[in-house]
Amino acid sequence: MTKCLILSMEEWAEKKNKKKIVVEKINLKIGEFTCVEPISLINTFNAAVLGSWLDSSEITIEIIPFEGKCSKCNRLYFPKKENGYKSPCCNFNLEEIISGRELKIASIDFKEK
């Protein structure tokens, strides 16, 4: 995942002329229902970019809650593994996921040299 993030940054920077910019912050949106552990992503990113053009950049992560929709009564709810991800209102299986699958670079804060 860290490699994918760095490749995405490289792709973005190619359009900006990487030598003329300094990236200050990479603002991510990471859903709770993904395979990403935010602190691990930050740590591996920091280690991977040491000495590179992204060395001085900082990762910020907005956690997007895992939210489902009960297919019986249409109420939104926060699925929990302790409850088998079922809706607490009607005890229905997890059919529709509203949010929590996000793996996004929301924005990049940078300065021109």
Partner: protein, 227 residues
């Protein structure tokens, strides 16, 4: 130095992989070749499943395998004995196959056989219940294996794998009489995480469930070819 600029890009971190996966899928479609991504934890029985499956399947359909493994070609060597085209993909330290690796594997497969002659490509992913679930490879269907020795709670602990799967094979069911294992609890955990998945109980020892699994594959191939 100028003032900071905020570029709001809203870009999927995995977009490069997704883009390559789409390209792989277009290739599979052009070859009229159905691709299954077979995933599980290490030791759930993926390679043994493929050995038994391909003995029968390759009599009806032209089959090939891309065999993902971190460090060896041992699994690929087992499958090559079945006289079908097998391409090993050794991932090194990577704990999953990604779309680029599968694209490379497909290029090697093209040197062994014209994929137009194939009906189905089985991709055995690296044994891991986490990362393979997030990385599309261009497959048409995802198949997840879960052996009963892993415990009833795994669909709840690794929900993304079991949520993403189109078919879940519960393996090693011949061990049920010897384990304190509640298969109904496992099925309930699968259904609550992914109500849309098909579920088949299977044993590579007694061969129970293989008729249902072969039937599932055959129907998918025929439906794919007719579209």
């Amino acid at each position: 130095m100028h003032l900071p600029i905020s570029d709001k890009i809203e870009l999927n971190i995995l977009h490069q992989n997704s883009h390559q996966a789409e390209k792989n899928k277009v290739k599979f479609n052009n070859y009229n070749l159905l691709c299954l991504n077979i995933m599980s934890s290490p030791g759930a029985g993926k390679t043994r499943l493929l050995e038994i499956t391909l003995e029968d399947l390759s009599k009806k359909f032209h089959s090939a395998v891309l065999e993902g493994d971190m460090t060896t070609n041992l699994d690929a060597a087992r499958l090559e004995k079945l006289n079908i085209p097998v391409v090993p993909i050794t991932t090194g330290r990577a704990c999953h196959l990604d779309a680029n690796m599968v694209s490379g594997g497909l290029k090697l497969l093209e040197k062994k056989i014209n994929p137009d002659l194939l009906d189905i490509l089985l991709v055995e992913n690296v044994g891991n219940l986490v990362c393979p679930a997030e990385f599309e490879i261009g497959e048409h269907f995802k198949v997840a294996l879960l052996s009963i020795t892993e415990g009833e709670d795994k669909p709840l602990k690794y929900p993304i794998m079991f949520r993403e799967a189109d078919l879940i094979l519960i393996t090693k069911v011949d061990l049920l009489p010897y384990l304190n294992f509640d298969i109904n609890e496992l099925k309930s955990n699968i259904t609550s995480t992914n109500p849309k998945a098909d579920v088949i109980e299977i044993s590579s020892v007694t061969k129970s469930g293989f008729d249902l699994w072969q039937d599932w594959i055959s129907k998918k191939i025929l439906k794919f070819k007719n579209n």
